[in-house]
Subunit: 397 residues, 2 copies
C-alpha cells in the first residue's frame, strides 16, 4: 500500500530511469514536460507530487496480442475442456461463450481493468468476426474501448477465427468491421486453415489497402509451410509499401526451422518491415536473439487469458517478459532489457503508437514499479506502485 | 488491502475449501479444532475472526527445493554473467558471493520472509558444503531457521555443490553437517560430476544410514545416464528401507527418455518410494502425468531464486505451479489440481511433514487466496489475503 497520491500529479519525484539516473519528472497537460536530476526530497513540496523513492519508471506496458472478447474473466471459473482439432476447439468455444451468460462487454471490461492495474497502457485485441458472431463482438469492444479511453488505449483487429475462404460471408463482414471502426485486418493460417494462401492473403491485403488499415495475421503453421507464408506476407508487404504496419502473430515456424531457412525468412521480414508477435511458448517460440540480429522487430503479447483456449494467463506483461525470457534463454542484463523492450518500445512501435516513451513531450503514460532497474523488473515482475495514463493516476498499489 | 485482522484468530469465517464447501474453520492452540458449514456472516461476532468472504483456503504452500544461501535477494541487483562449464559456473558463484558483501544470513532471511508473504509455510533448502565454504553456510542457515521458526519451517540439505569424491574433505564435512543439524544429505550427479556412481552413492547412503537422515540428490545427468542412476538410487533406497525419505531433484532424464525406459524407471521409483522434485523447466521436465499414473510422487520447488545461476525466480509457489502447468501441458481442472498438490500435499509428504493439511487437528498453517477454487488459484496465482503459521497471522495483503 503506497501513500495517498494526487490524481493528476505535476511531478514524479526521485524516479529511476531505465538508464539508472534518478530524476524528477515534471508532468504538464498529460505529457512529460521536463526531466531534471533529482536533488533532494526536501525540494518536493506540496501534495501534487508522487514520491517514487528511487523506484523504476517505465513507459506504459503494451499488450501486443490479446482477445478481450474471449476471456472468461468477470464470469465464474470455467473448467478447461479438451478438444480434438482446431476446428472442434473453435466450435466448442462458441458454445461455451453462449452458455456463460456474461456479456462480452462485461468480461472484456474486467480484463481491461486488470490490465490497467498491472501497468498496461495500450492493448491490441483481436476480435472474432465469423458467420455466427458477425460484428457483435466488435461492436461490444468498440463500446468498451470508448468507455475505458481515459485509462487504456485499445486497438482492435478484425479476426477471422473461423477462416475467410472457408467461412461464408466473412470477407464482407471483415470489410464491414473495418468500416465500423476496427483498426486492423486479421488473418488465420492461410495454408493450414483456409488451404489457399494467395486467396486468403488477397482478401487480407486487399482490405488493408482499401481501408488504409494495418494487418495482424495469426500464423500457427509450422516448419517450411509456415516460413514460406512468412515470406509471402513479406513480399506483399513490400509490394504495397505497408512496412511497419504488418504483424505476424505466433510464427511458430521461426522456432522450428534451422539455419538457412531461418536466415532467409528473417531477412525477408526485416527488409519488408514485418513485425513478429510472440507470447513465448516453450519449444516453438521464435528465436528472439537471432531475429533481433537480423533486424526483425519482435514484440510480446499474452494471447489467451483465461478463456476456452486455455485456463492460464494473468494479463501481466512483466510476467510475460519473464516467460519469454525463461523460454528464450534470456539471462544477461542485455537479454533482459531486450525482453523489456518487447513489452514496451518494440511493441509500441509495432502498434504505431506516437508520443510513446520517456522523452520530453511524450504522453505521460507511465508505470512506476518496485524495482531498481529494467533487468530486475523483468526477472521479478514486481508490484506496480503507480500507473498513469495521460498524466492521470489510473491505478496504485 | 484487507481489513484489520486479529493476530491469532479463533475462526476463519466463510472460507472455501478445495472441495468447494464454504465453511467456518475454528482454530485453537494453533490447530484446526473444527470445520463447520458456513451459515451467515451475522453469526461471526467479535474481533477475533477473519472474514474470508468465500475466498479459498489452502494448507500452507511448500517450497520443495531452494537454495537460501545462494540468493542475491537483500543485496543490490547482480547482472547475470555467462559461464562455460558447470565447474566454471560453480567457481564463478563462489567469487560473486564473496564480492557481494551481504552475509548469507541477511540474504537468506530476505528470501525466507518473501516466501512467508507468499503463503509458503515450509521450505526445503539445500546449503552448499564444499572445501572453501565448509560449514559456514549451514551455520548461518541454522540461525536463520531458528530466528524464523514461528513463521516458516525450514529443512536443510547438506549439499555437495563441488562434488564429494572430487572435492577433498567434503565427505567428512557432510558428516559434520548432519551432526550439526542438517536434516538431509544431498548429492550431485554421481556420474556426470563425480564420475563414480557407486562411490558417490556409498557416501550419500552411508551418511543417511548412519545419521537417520533423509536424502535429496541433484541429478541433472540426462538420457539413460540419468535413468540408470535413478534406478541405482531406487535399488539402494529399497535395500535400506528408506522409502519415503529419498528425493531426486530435477531428474531431467525422465523428460528425455521414451516408452520402455521411462516405464522401467518410473516403476522402480514408485516401488522404492523415491520422490521426484521438479521446477518445471521447459523441454526437460519430468512428465508429471505419466509419473503420477505410475504412482511416483512428484513435487515442486523453485530451485534458484535470483542468484548466480540465474536472474529469475520470485519464490511464489503458485506461480511455480503455473510454470509447471504450462510446460507440462496441464489444462483440465484435474490437471491443475495435480499441479496444486505438487506445491502442497505431495510436497508435504515428500518433506515428511506431520500434522499438515486441512484436517481436524492439523496445524493451522494456512493461506487464504483470492480465488474461488484450486484450479483458478494455480492458473492465476492470485493475491495471498492472509497467511497463518501455527494459527498466527504472519502475513496479510
Amino acid at each position: 500500500m503506497v501513500s495517498a497520491h494526487p490524481t493528476t500529479p505535476d511531478r514524479l519525484v526521485d524516479a529511476r530511469l531505465p538508464d539508472g539516473r534518478r530524476v524528477d519528472m515534471v508532468l504538464r497537460d498529460g505529457r512529460i514536460a521536463a526531466v531534471e536530476p533529482h536533488r533532494s526530497d526536501a525540494d518536493a513540496h506540496g501534495d501534487t507530487v508522487i514520491r517514487c523513492g528511487g523506484a523504476l519508471v517505465l513507459p506504459a506496458l503494451v499488450e501486443g496480442h490479446c482477445h478481450l472478447d474471449k476471456t472468461f474473466l468477470g464470469a465464474p471459473w470455467q473448467p478447461h475442456l479438451s478438444a480434438g482439432s482446431l476446428r472442434e476447439r473453435i466450435a466448442h468455444e462458441k458454445v461455451l461463450r453462449e452458455q456463460i451468460g456474461v456479456p462480452v462487454a462485461e468480461r472484456a471490461t474486467a480484463l481491461a481493468e486488470r490490465m490497467v492495474s498491472l501497468g498496461t497502457g495500450y492493448a491490441r485485441s483481436h476480435v472474432d468476426i465469423d458467420p455466427e458472431t458477425k460484428l457483435s463482438g466488435l461492436h461490444a469492444l468498440l463500446e468498451v474501448r470508448a468507455a475505458l479511453r481515459d485509462r487504456i488505449g485499445i486497438q482492435l483487429v478484425a479476426f477471422p477465427q473461423s477462416g475467410i475462404l472457408t467461412a461464408p460471408g466473412v470477407a464482407d463482414l471483415l470489410d464491414a468491421a473495418l468500416a465500423d471502426g476496427a483498426d486492423l485486418i486479421g488473418g488465420l493460417d492461410p495454408a493450414g486453415f483456409d488451404a489457399d494462401v494467395d486467396g486468403h492473403l488477397d482478401v487480407v491485403f486487399g482490405l488493408a489497402d482499401r481501408h488504409g488499415a494495418g494487418i495482424d495475421i495469426h500464423l500457427h503453421d509450422g516448419g517450411t509451410l509456415g516460413t514460406s507464408q512468412l515470406r509471402a506476407i513479406a513480399d506483399r508487404t513490400r509490394a504495397l509499401g505497408l512496412g511497419g504496419k504488418v504483424t505476424v502473430s505466433h510464427a511458430y515456424a521461426l522456432g522450428q526451422v534451422d539455419g538457412g531457412e531461418l536466415d532467409r525468412t528473417a531477412a525477408a521480414l526485416a527488409t519488408a518491415g514485418v513485425a513478429i508477435m510472440t507470447n513465448g511458448p516453450a519449444g516453438t517460440m521464435p528465436p528472439v536473439l537471432p531475429l533481433r540480429d537480423h533486424g526483425v522487430s519482435v514484440f510480446a503479447g499474452s494471447d489467451n487469458i483465461r478463456d476456452a483456449w486455455w485456463p492460464y494467463g494473468t494479463g501481466d506483461m512483466l510476467e510475460r517478459a519473464t516467460i519469454i525470457g525463461l523460454n528464450g534463454g534470456l539471462m544477461s542484463d542485455d537479454d533482459l532489457t531486450l525482453a523489456a523492450a518487447m513489452i514496451t518500445d518494440s511493441a509500441a512501435t509495432a502498434l504505431g503508437l506516437t508520443d510513446y516513451g520517456l522523452h520530453l513531450g511524450s504522453r505521460a503514460d507511465l508505470v512506476v514499479v518496485a524495482a531498481t532497474g529494467v533487468p530486475e523488473a523483468v526477472a521479478s515482475h514486481p508490484e506496480r506502485l503507480w500507473v498513469l495514463h495521460g498524466g492521470r493516476v489510473v491505478a496504485a498499489a
